[in-house]
């Protein structure tokens, strides 16, 4: 199953803007997503923005990347144009369980 457009875009941009190669960039983002309880296939741009603000800076810093805050802020701002539809297709368990609350209403 394909990774989401938000994941692919951030990895490509990290590869372009930092000394990380493709494998390092994708690995670092995947580690950040795991820490955030997210997965690359169902990632939305909004979720990626939060990861860019709260998780990724620390991981990039650990990789020796300079000026991580400005890189992450720039990526977060530029996420606006990324396709909102997650690449995984179908709905997530979170969406299903959120809807089940309708039974309580």
């Amino acid at each position: 199953m394909a990774d989401s457009p938000a994941f692919d875009w951030v990895c490509r941009e990290l590869e372009r803007r930092t000394p990380l190669d493709r494998l390092e960039a994708r690995g670092t983002v995947r580690i950040s997503l795991k820490q955030a309880g997210l997965d690359a296939r169902h990632l939305t741009p909004d979720q990626m923005k939060v990861v860019l603000e709260k998780v990724l800076p620390k991981e990039l810093g650990a990789c020796g990347v300079d000026d991580v805050d400005s890189v992450c802020h720039a990526l977060s701002r530029e996420m606006l144009g990324i396709e909102a539809d997650p690449g995984g297709g179908g709905e997530t368990p979170e969406a299903v369980f959120r809807r089940l609350a309708g039974a309580a209403g």
Binding site: A36, F97, R99, L100, A103
Partner: protein
């Protein structure tokens, strides 16, 4: 003489029966509204395994000595309900957690065929109100316990992910807690069924005739009832408490 379960045993069973009935019906009403498969499956699973399957088979066993005719009718109702409930639970687990995993569709089809085969076998025997240990008993136990414990493991695994999302403000704490409650409830129901059926396999005595097994099943049923109630019909004070706990630790 068939021993009558004590009042305390009935409390657990009754709680499970009533909560599963209310929750199951509400989920099916929700499914009618949303027209979505997960709601339909979880509603059928809760109703089929709980009040219909478990309730009717326990009632059939209790009625077996005094009223064999109604007992067999209850057994037909319970067996069909249980089969539908287990199939619905398996489909829910597949469609919600692993919709694109190769091979799972085939396993689910096999499980449905196995349920049909067991129903045909029961019909051939005239739906005896007390299940005897035979190939169908082993298969029924494996499918019921498997469906419940698989669902529990998936919900608890997803709860772990959701907890991490809550920490960075990416998930609703009440929805997150719903995964935990559903996991605990399914585990209690699955473990209770496992213990009861293993005891019947080992001793050869129906579980409804072993007081401590009945008490254990009742306790598991009570835990499942509380978890389901808090997950799907939560009191406002409970959801406030969950939300407050997260915001105060943030």
């Amino acid at each position: 003489m068939h021993p009558a379960p004590s009042f305390l045993v009935w409390v657990g069973f009754l709680a499970f029966f009533l909560v599963a009935l209310v929750v199951g019906v509400r989920l099916l009403l929700l499914a009618r509204q949303t027209r979505r498969l997960p709601e339909l499956c979880i509603g059928l699973g809760v109703l089929g395994i709980g009040p219909v399957g478990f309730g009717a088979t326990v009632a059939a066993a209790q009625a077996a000595h005094g009223a064999p005719g109604p007992a067999s009718a209850l057994m037909v109702f319970g067996s069909v309900g249980l089969a539908v409930g287990v199939c619905a639970k398996l489909v829910f687990n597949w469609r919600v957690y692993h919709p694109s995993r190769p091979g799972l569709r085939g396993l689910i089809v096999l499980a449905v065929l196995a349920q049909v085969a067991m129903l045909v076998d029961q019909a051939r025997q005239g739906f005896p109100p007390v299940m005897h240990v035979d190939w169908a008993f082993y298969l029924r136990t494996a499918l019921l316990v498997g469906a419940l414990l698989w669902g529990s493991a998936e919900a608890l695994r997803y709860w772990g992910k959701m907890r991490r999302r809550v920490r960075i403000g990416l998930a609703d704490p009440v929805v997150t807690n719903r995964f935990l409650l559903w996991g605990v409830g399914a585990f209690a129901a699955g473990f209770g069924a496992l213990v009861g059926n293993v005891v019947q396999i080992v001793t050869g005595t129906p579980t409804t005739e072993i007081p401590w097994v009945l008490a254990g099943s009742s306790a598991h049923g009570f835990v499942a009832a509380v978890a389901m109630w808090l997950a799907f019909v939560p009191p406002a004070a409970y959801t406030r408490m969950i939300a407050d706990r997260v915001s105060s630790s943030a």
